[in-house]
Each structure stands twice: as structure tokens, then as C-alpha cells.
Assembly symmetry: C2
Homo-oligomer: 277 residues x 2
């Protein structure tokens, strides 16, 4: 692991890191906030997965999460959203290819060789973090925004016991039933919709996957609310399965990081409480 | 005044605005955070002036100031750092021309026609703000970062009584005595160094200008500390003039917005206290 930059922030350190990933076959970047408490021993880890077009930088520079992470003694890990670079497949649209990895392992050409985001984030990167940073990997939570909210929900559902807490900001609740998701799942996983259900929070729950509880914030003025995000599909799935879902509709908030910043402290406190148990 | 965008943030509204400026002869942009308290009546205004290469967006998106501004009932106004566009003079270097207005009115070609940042920020923009937003213009404070710290200090010193409070993050303390400043002042004001003294916080103070007190934060790991920022020159001038200066050297912080974000709450509270009197 190479530390690309190291910046003091709220008494802790904001790192940007890079490593040669076996999962993706590329150099992958991720940002890590190390809180001051880490100087006294390993601290719990909260993963933040970002949305379409983002890198490790958006959450790190725009959410203002370091303040509360420093106070709570939480490490924040924000991975890039896809493999990148020459030799990596891409698409001219913003919602497919580089910057749009959807947190799954692609099976289809031309994506399969490098687009292995699930393997990277759940299989490989935790080992890199554990080996190089003062992280208590027995206490991990996960959250994310938009495509990254989808990622947080599906990875928590697909890896039971891995994350003690899961929340999301304006997640794509059911990618099998929205244009962003249908396009990406068809490209990465192929035309057979049966394979898609295992990468959709709502259908995963319908098919029996479980987490203890979920916190979701969603702005009512979000331009993607009705067409893409559809939180009612997550609510219906949670209600049918008996999963406690706290879905907070936030009046007049949109899809931007101003929305994430406004509620990130609530999420960090929610995770910290559950990671302390 | 045209509202380019309007985004909910911490219960208030983050606006990006544009207006046709007579001072600069261009369309000028500025960002405004309107706190929730403004729905009950005019609120005090804190100006934030940004540094080299910045626009109205950097502070707005990266400093995380809205949270405390919402709590304190402060309006934040963050102007762009120069005129821009076709027909506006520029220089290929990052530290001159567009993005580098230095908060003064240029007298020299090719800058004089549009580079009138002092007239815009102190003469014209307050009228636009007062006419269009719930601002109490009798209660204004000013702060800024780097070149914008220079701007905050010099505008407060040059316009006595205008700003009730002034602070800065890593300001260029004495532009007549550092490479950034010497280059810009020579270009905008001409070769006669006598004219420069009126746009340098330290020499303004030496020449008799006064403010009630100053708060400055400065990172000790700032890469521009010794070569450009030179806070000791401000300290010497304040000591000689009897101006109370609280210069806080912040261990291991650099010049980035991670530094600004770490201490912006302190500055907002400091200004709010003085604007409440």
C-alpha cells in the first residue's frame, strides 16, 4: 500500500492510498480518515461507498465527515467506484464503466477482466487495511450514497456477519427495477435477469437475505427519487421480511453532497453506537 | 441577481448566484448560505474570500461551514476570486489573472478594465446582497484563506467600520514581501512599490490603519508558510500597533481545505460573538 497523500484533519489524518489490486488487475485508490483515537489502539471502521461518476475524493472532500469521525474514533474508508486507466473497458455514458462499478463482479465482456468491485472491497481491500492501518476489523460498518447506497446494502446482505451496521443515503433501492440498474446489470451480468436478483437490495431481502436493521436518509427534492431510487421498494421488502428500516424522508433535500453532509453526523453516530456493542 | 442553483443544506439554503457587475464589467458569481434563522428576519453576514485558483465553490463545497452557520444564524457569502470569461485578461500562471484577483482594483494594462475586485466586493456586491437576501448589513464580518486571508485583512483595514470582525486562515500577511504578492502587485498596480503598501495588511497597519482585533489560524506544515505567508510580519505589525492578534499555529496542518474545515467552526463562533454585540 502506497500513501499518496497525508493531510492533517480534525486532529487525525486524511490519507489517500493506492495499491496494486489482484482483484481488479489495476492500481486502485481509496481514502482513509484515521481518527486521533487510533494512536491508542485499533478503531472500528466505517466504509463509505460513493455514487456514479465519483472517486474516493467526493465523500472525503465534500461530506465533512471527519469532524464527527474524529470525535467518535471511527476510521472512514472511501474506495474509488471502479477500476480505471488504459486497458480498462469504459463506456462514454456516465452510468456505465469507469466511475460506475456498481459494487459487483462482472461476468460479461468487456467488463469481466477488471470490474471486480465486490471481490476488491470485500475480499482484498479489508486485508490491505488490516495490514497497514490501526483498524479493528471485527467492528466494521458500511454506508454509501446512491449507487454506493446500493453497494452498502447489497454487500451487507451478501456478506452476513461481515458488517455490524448498514445505512445508506439516497440508495438505488432496487436496481433490477430502474434504468440505471437495468442498464448496468445487463452489461455486467448479462441478459438473464435471474442473475441480477443477487445484486439488488430489495430482491435479496425477498429471497431471504437478512441484516439486523437499516437506516436510510432520502431527500424529497431528489431529482432521481421516483425514476431511479424508489425507496418504497426497499420499504416493502423490509416490511415483508420484518427487517427494521428507519427510512427518513428529508424535506426539500436533493441528491447532492450538501444532503449527505447535512445528515452524515447522524449516520456516523448510528454506526458508532452499533460498532461499540 | 440570478439564482443559478438552490440546494437545501442543514435546514437552510445554499445558493449560487450571478449578477452583471458594473465594477468588473462581467457576470460575477458568488455563493450564499442562508441559515434557517433568516426566515425570522435579517441575519448577520460573514464574507469568506478564497485563495488562488479558487472560485465561489471551494469554500462552499469543502469547508463544511454550513453546519455551524445554520446553528449560529450566520449568512455566508463566498465571492468568486476574479472576473472571468472571454475578453478578460489572463495569464497562463495560476497566480496571476483569472482566479487570482488579489481583492484590489488594478490600475495597469491589461488588468485595469475588469480586475476591480475591491470595488465589486466592498462597493457593489453588498448592495446586491442587501437588495435580494435577508442580510443585516449593519453586522458584517470578513474572513478568508491564503490570498483571501490577505483580502479579508486588507479590506477590513481599508474600510474602517465596515466589518465588525476580521479573521483569516493562512493569510498572505505581507504581499509586498513575498513572491506571490510582488508578482501580483507589480502586475496590477505597477512598478512603484509605494502604491503597494495600501494593499498589504502589515504595511497598512504600520502606516496607521486599524482594526479592533484579529484571529488567524496557520498550519505549521503549510508548504507556503515560510516562502509566502510569513505570519511573523503580521505579528510584528500588530505588536507595534497594539492590535490584539490571536495567531494560532496549528501543529502539522497544511494549506488545504482540510485545514480550513478543521478550524472553521472556531472562526464562525468568534465572528458570531462579535456580530451579536
Amino acid at each position: 500500500m502506497e500513501v499518496v497523500s497525508r493531510t492533517r484533519s480534525f486532529g487525525g489524518e486524511q490519507l489517500v492510498c493506492r495499491h496494486a489490486s489482484e482483484a481488479t488487475g489495476t492500481a486502485m485508490r481509496f481514502a482513509v480518515f484515521v481518527p486521533p483515537a487510533a494512536s491508542r489502539g485499533p478503531v472500528p471502521v466505517l466504509w463509505f461507498l460513493a455514487g456514479l461518476t465519483c472517486t474516493e475524493a467526493n465523500f472525503t472532500e465534500k461530506a465533512g465527515a471527519q469532524r464527527v469521525a474524529a470525535e467518535l474514533g471511527l476510521m472512514l474508508v472511501a474506495p474509488d467506484t471502479s477500476p480505471r486507466g488504459e486497458g480498462v473497458a469504459d463506456d462514454p455514458a456516465y452510468d456505465l464503466g469507469q466511475g460506475a462499478g456498481f459494487y459487483l463482479d462482472a461476468t460479461e465482456a468487456p467488463w469481466a477482466p477488471h470490474f471486480r468491485m465486490e471481490q476488491w472491497i470485500t475480499g482484498e481491500l479489508p486485508g490491505v487495511v488490516a495490514a497497514n492501518l490501526p483498524a479493528d476489523m471485527a467492528r466494521q460498518g458500511i454506508t454509501g450514497h446512491s449507487m454506493g447506497g446500493h453497494g452498502a446494502l447489497t454487500l451487507a446482505l451478501r456478506h452476513p456477519g461481515r458488517y455490524r451496521s448498514v445505512s445508506a443515503f439516497a440508495p438505488i433501492s432496487s436496481p433490477t427495477r430502474c434504468p440505471w440498474g437495468e442498464k448496468a446489470l445487463a452489461a455486467y451480468l448479462g441478459a438473464d435477469r435471474a442473475a441480477w436478483r443477487a445484486h439488488d437490495a430489495a430482491t435479496l431481502i425477498a429471497d431471504g437475505a437478512r441484516v439486523a436493521e437499516i437506516l436510510v436518509d432520502q431527500g424529497t427534492a431528489d431529482q432521481f427519487l421516483d425514476g431511479q431510487l424508489k425507496p418504497q421498494l426497499l420499504r416493502e421488502a423490509c416490511e415483508a421480511a420484518g427487517i427494521p428500516l428507519q427510512l427518513r424522508m428529508q424535506d426539500a433535500y436533493d441528491h447532492s453532497y450538501f444532503f449527505v453532509a447535512s445528515f452524515v453526523a447522524d449516520h456516523l453516530r448510528w454506526h458508532a453506537e452499533r460498532l461499540a456493542r
